[in-house]
Assembly symmetry: none
């Protein structure tokens, strides 16, 4: 079976190559400028070859979209071990931002880009499960906040409101950066700025919650 397995592996590698290349182009040129042609040129294959690995362009995008959510979910696992819910929530935010800034193409596709939706909306009808994978991540956040509530923080706050607020905050941070609306802050300071903004959040929101508790 060695041969069959290697074949399978090579096929997988090709798919990965195509996906990575698509992602690189996405990052460089923006979403609407990914074309099969460009991808094919970059990997030095003919456009027709790509169709041996993916049904069509949509499937590439859809796969990337899904992959992104898998990846994010993977990152999120790392913080589940933290016992203290408040600390965990803080780490949660940090991790989210790191994920976004280290995988801006994925993040963009997952949370900013408008394009992939035609396909994804169609899919939704078929398996109803498409956003589920994204939902898992949201549920993790909700649960974290629930734990905080149990621990006495956000007592009077509706969970969804808190979740949406915190999510908005971190999403705002990274999407302003990814979509380059931060030219007023010198490039080299941005990293610190993000860190400070996260601290700002912690001090004002999370710690506040803590104080209210006591």
């Amino acid at each position: 079976m060695g041969i069959k397995e290697r074949k399978e592996l090579e096929k997988q590698e090709m798919r990965t190559l195509i996906l990575d290349t698509a992602m690189k182009l996405f990052l460089e040129k923006g979403f609407e400028n990914i074309t099969l042609r460009h991808i094919a040129e970059k990997i030095e294959y003919s456009p027709a070859t790509i169709y041996l690995y993916f049904k069509d362009k949509d499937e590439i995008i859809y796969t990337l979209h899904r992959e992104g959510f898998e990846k994010l979910y993977g990152w999120q696992q790392k913080i589940l071990t933290i016992k203290d819910p408040l600390k965990r929530l803080h780490k949660h935010a940090e991790m989210y931002v790191s994920f976004a800034l280290e995988n801006p193409e994925y993040y963009d596709l997952m949370f900013i880009e408008r394009a992939p939706f035609k396909k994804i909306k169609e899919m939704k009808c078929k398996d109803g499960m498409n956003w589920e994978i994204g939902m898992r991540s949201y549920d993790l956040l909700r649960k974290n906040i629930e734990d905080c509530k149990k621990a006495g923080v956000f007592q009077n706050t509706n969970i969804d409101v808190a979740a949406f607020s915190l999510w908005s905050f971190v999403h705002g941070i990274v999407s302003l950066i990814i979509r380059e609306r931060c030219s007023m802050f010198p490039e080299e300071q941005r990293h610190d700025l993000v860190k400070c903004a996260l601290d700002f959040m912690q001090e004002n929101i999370l710690l506040t919650g803590l104080k209210k508790r006591s």
Copy 2:
């Protein structure tokens, strides 16, 4: 000069017509689906005519981008009369969100869309002033926070950090909505959710600042 002036006026009106139509289509069909042909059809002129008023498609987009910032700046003027800096800051946030949700096409173009940048980056070289108009809005926010500081809030916080944080928060809210990442919240609840999120911010951030002061 009467004739010349009228001519100028008519020219202006035509430009406005084109811009408005473009914006309408932008809203209806999404950004990447605007074509000059669509615009031309809607205003019942030939595509070639548009080139008499704008150098190319990019210039249309660039103009809309600029217009958006003018508009936002106009909205922001309304809150300058509020004396209490904290109250003013709160209104500032509210107004920003309203602007975004009532003018989603503009907001999208100004703060989310990737497209206008080719053009804007080129322009930057020429007049260096392109973001200045956006900067005015940011400066207003900064100044508002400065006033808060003078009034004793955000004492220990760097102004840019606070500004960026608050901006991120409201930007996060509206961009999740505009780019339709809120399907987990039923459509009819979203308006409330936004309001609650703003309240959440005020309670936890602004009021906290206030408490610290006392």
Copy 3:
């Protein structure tokens, strides 16, 4: 209005040029080999130009199809003046054959080709009228036979049976020729052969009917 009219005329001429060229290619290369590219090359315009005159390829084919039936119907008018129904029926057959052999591309599209049907079937749903134009021609045949019956011929024959039979006969003749299944008959004899076959029909079918009458 002279200018407008000339423009309109020129537009019409271009449409005609495209249609004629398509038809020529159809004849030369068979239906499945009409491509917009080929048409464009032949008329020495760019492929994009064709789209200024026709919505898409289907519209070209559909138009040709319709045109063919109009043409046939026009030809059929010529024999309506013949009083004697039997003579008229004979002329009817002759005319049908002439139409087919002088306009083989049209005939092929109308009565042999399989392809245009996707489009035409769709259309059917929309206006229900698509075959009506072809039906008019069939009705003419039916009516002719009805008249013959009144005149005492085909007394015991169902009209549709007679119509279908006669139609089959002439269709058989021309479609064997158009689709080149007559290579056993030397090219130069074919014209006579067709004539003789028509006579054969008249003698055996029409005249027979006549005799039965007496």
Copy 4:
């Protein structure tokens, strides 16, 4: 030689499998929509495999074409035993129609489709024999008519004229049906219609001949 023979047999079987599958697809999807890939998928071999058994797509079609004529010739044998030439001729026509309607894919390819000709014309140069197989069937018809003449029917008619006429008649019937030009006759009546048309022919042509004889 056992091995060699089995090999040969297996090869033959594979060719048959490919041909049958092609025919099935031809029937299902229409001629121009057969692709080697489809055939390959259906027989669960790779497209490349097909090239081990056939030089190219044309050869497959050409073979089917030839096969069709073999088949028809086979069917025609069945009526040779009928003594009475007139009866035989009538059965001849019936059999032809049955063959066509029961094997529409073959009939279409043999007598309607334009496609196989590129290949066949080339072949003709090489062996000159390509239509010979079809000719045998035509000769059978001619001979049948000759016999009728000898029996006193079609006395004054040229054999080829009679043959071509009768052939045209039955070809007309089946090709109108196969290429779906009979939508004016409800599906369920078509079978009867064909039968009636054949009767119509017999009464008017064959029996007429008979009467003339007496």
